[in-house]
């Protein structure tokens, strides 16, 4: 399969009042069409920064991103984003939220009837037809995220970007949405980059897991190929030695190789200081 998205030598430096801050350096990643990639790493390691650069919401200060042979310079619907906190417009219903995206992307390409059908089709994909005329404040967090996914899918993106899509949800709802997502993925075979904190989620959903080192100046640490046949079933996999091997690999990267030690030592220092003051 051909490479659709090419991140080459990507780095970014933020100008802060205290001087420049290097968040990322030398990120290299080639993503093939239809591949499902997870970005995993400790918080603050720059996963979201990578995603935002691909989305075009941030501009890399060195290197760059090439999608389908064209350099990414600004945001666009061919790189649809599913935001962590759904980001639905609260004054529009689920249907209208998707409609806004469809009307913008397919203006002049689809007739009104085709658009309506397309909106309903995408809401059906995420099992939201029963509540499509409800507003975000009338539906649950999981349902909002489903609408967010429908909105992104409706843009027919070349790459689907998901920023911790299930991070704000409880474990049961999350599992439910992961299953839905695998179902959709089987049908559409999208190219996906997903940020996650959840090791199980990463192993279950991904073709490759990209593990990032700790910041500042974070970069890609290791890449793990997940060679499990699809469709995957979370219950069967729970007993599968290969699954547990992959989990172990990610866990050992996160908690042994890239253990966050600084926080501990800082906390110790702070405690020592407080103790000495008391004494």
């Amino acid at each position: 399969m051909s490479v659709i998205l090419d991140i080459t030598g990507c780095g970014i430096e933020f100008q802060t009042p205290k001087g420049s801050f290097r968040a990322l350096r030398d990120v290299n990643l080639k993503i093939k069409k239809g591949e499902y990639i997870s970005l995993i790493g400790h918080s603050g390691c720059g996963k979201s920064t990578v995603l935002n650069i691909v989305a075009g919401l941030l501009q890399a200060t060195e290197g760059g991103v090439v999608l389908n042979g064209k350099e990414v310079r600004e945001p666009g619907p061919e790189r649809a984003v599913v935001f962590q906190n759904h980001s639905l417009l609260p004054w529009l219903t689920a249907y209208e939220n998707v409609e806004l995206a469809v009307k913008t992307v397919f203006k002049g390409k689809k007739t009104k009837a085709e658009m309506k059908e397309w909106i309903e089709h995408n809401l059906e994909l995420v099992h939201m037809t029963h509540a499509m005329h409800k507003r975000p404040d009338e539906i649950s967090g999981g349902m909002k995220q489903r609408v967010g996914i429908a909105r992104a899918l409706a843009m027919e993106p070349d790459v689907l970007l998901m920023d911790e899509p299930f991070g704000a949800l409880d474990a049961l709802t999350r599992a439910h949405l992961q299953d839905s997502l695998m179902e959709i993925q089987k049908e559409l075979n999208n190219t996906v980059i997903m940020i996650t904190h959840d090791v199980d989620e990463a192993v279950l959903l991904s073709d490759r897991i990209v593990m990032m080192t700790n910041g500042p100046a974070a970069t890609v640490g290791e890449i793990l190929e997940i060679d499990l046949e699809r469709p995957r079933n979370r219950i069967q996999l729970a007993d599968d030695p290969r699954y547990n091997h992959y989990r172990h690999a990610v866990l050992s990267f996160l908690y042994e190789k890239q253990r966050k030690v600084e926080d501990f030592s800082k906390a110790k220092e702070a405690k020592a200081e407080a103790d000495s003051k008391v004494a």
Binding site: V81, L89, P90, L100, A101, T104
Partner: protein, 334 residues
């Protein structure tokens, strides 16, 4: 339906009592929503009455509640008397014209306007028209300007000092300038609207522009980054971005500004009318003050209460409009 109900919190319990549901509880609700405010008004009337009889001025005692009531009846009956006179005037005129036409068929009948002085109710009407024209003009300027300023931090930095300097300026300071400019620019032999109206309206506009402008700008500037990102990913053009994202999310702040502005507009109007001699409530107060009869203080007090009641009513109307326009029906607006 909901709007009407929200202004009458006693209605629902009343219906429930009629049905025999939870009678004692509903009576309590009615006492709290109607009885307590009524008691407050009653105490105020008593204090007013007691204080008024102890304040002596060169025009007699300060008017108490009963005198004010008397004067308000007089003003209303004077209005109807004046209207009756006007009708008689037109009737006489028509009669005369008909008689002349019968004598001379080539005669072209002329209708002369009745030139009696405006009554209290006419003056209220003039005031309302003036304040609404000024307010609508101000809003038509302030909302678009606020959106543009709110969208750009550069423009915000550029305009903010100017806004902050003009915001606290009293209408009395603007008025002489506005009067001179209007006199210089608005020169026609047959003016469609009197100069005093334009002067008052522009003064009102200059003073009530700022709250709407500032609140709109703040509302627009504080749209969540998530929604801005959505707009960027969709590559919405400027107009769609403003209509679909900016306006709905800043509606609450815009209305806060509009309500503040309307309150200021109504306050400013009275002062402006006094000095510009626009035949509204401000002029009424001024004329009564100059008149200095034994009824004057009572009439001015009627005007004071009218001004208060209309100001209150205007705010309630804005609130109702806000409730209709706002997408967030759960938010409590008060």
């Amino acid at each position: 339906m909901n709007i009407a109900l929200s202004n009458m919190p006693w209605l629902e319990p009343l219906v429930k009592i009629a049905k025999g549901e939870n009678v004692s509880g509903n009576i309590q609700i009615i006492v709290k929503s109607v009885g307590v405010p009524l008691a407050g008004i009653l105490v105020f009337l008593m204090v007013w009455h007691a204080a008024a009889s102890n304040i002596h001025t060169s025009l007699g005692n300060f008017p108490g509640p009963s005198e004010v009531y008397e004067q308000s009846k007089n003003l209303v009956s004077a209005h109807f008397a004046e209207r009756a006179k006007a009708e008689e005037f037109y009737a006489r005129q028509e009669e005369r014209n008909a008689a002349r036409l019968a004598q001379d068929p080539t005669y072209e009948a002329k209708i002369r306007e009745y030139t009696g002085k405006p009554t209290y109710i006419d003056q209220i009407e003039t005031s309302l028209i003036t304040v609404l024209s000024g307010f609508i003009l101000a809003s038509a300027l302030a909302i678009p300007l606020g959106i543009v300023i709110g969208l750009s931090s550069t423009l915000n930095a550029a305009f903010n000092p100017v806004i902050q300097i003009f915001k606290p300026v009293s209408p009395l300071a603007w008025l002489p300038l506005v009067t001179m400019v209007v006199s210089a620019l608005y020169q026609t032999d047959d003016p469609a609207v009197p100069k005093s109206f334009i002067t008052s309206m522009i003064t009102v506009m200059l003073c009530c522009l700022w709250p709407t402008l500032l609140n709109t700008a703040v509302g627009v500037a504080s749209i969540s980054q998530d929604l801005k990102n959505v707009s960027m990913v969709l590559r919405l053009n400027w107009i769609t971005h403003v209509i679909k994202i900016v306006l709905p999310s800043s509606v609450p702040m815009i209305f806060t500004g509009l309500r503040l502005s309307l309150g200021i507009a109504w306050m400013v109007l009275i002062a402006a009318e006094m000095l510009a001699q626009n035949p509204g409530l401000g002029k009424f107060v001024w004329d009564e003050f100059q008149n200095g009869s034994s009824n004057s203080l009572g009439r001015i007090m009627v005007a004071v209460l009218t001004i208060g009641l209309i100001g209150f009513a205007l705010d309630r109307i804005m609130l109702s409009i806000q409730k209709v326009v706002s997408w967030d029906k759960k938010a409590t607006v008060r």
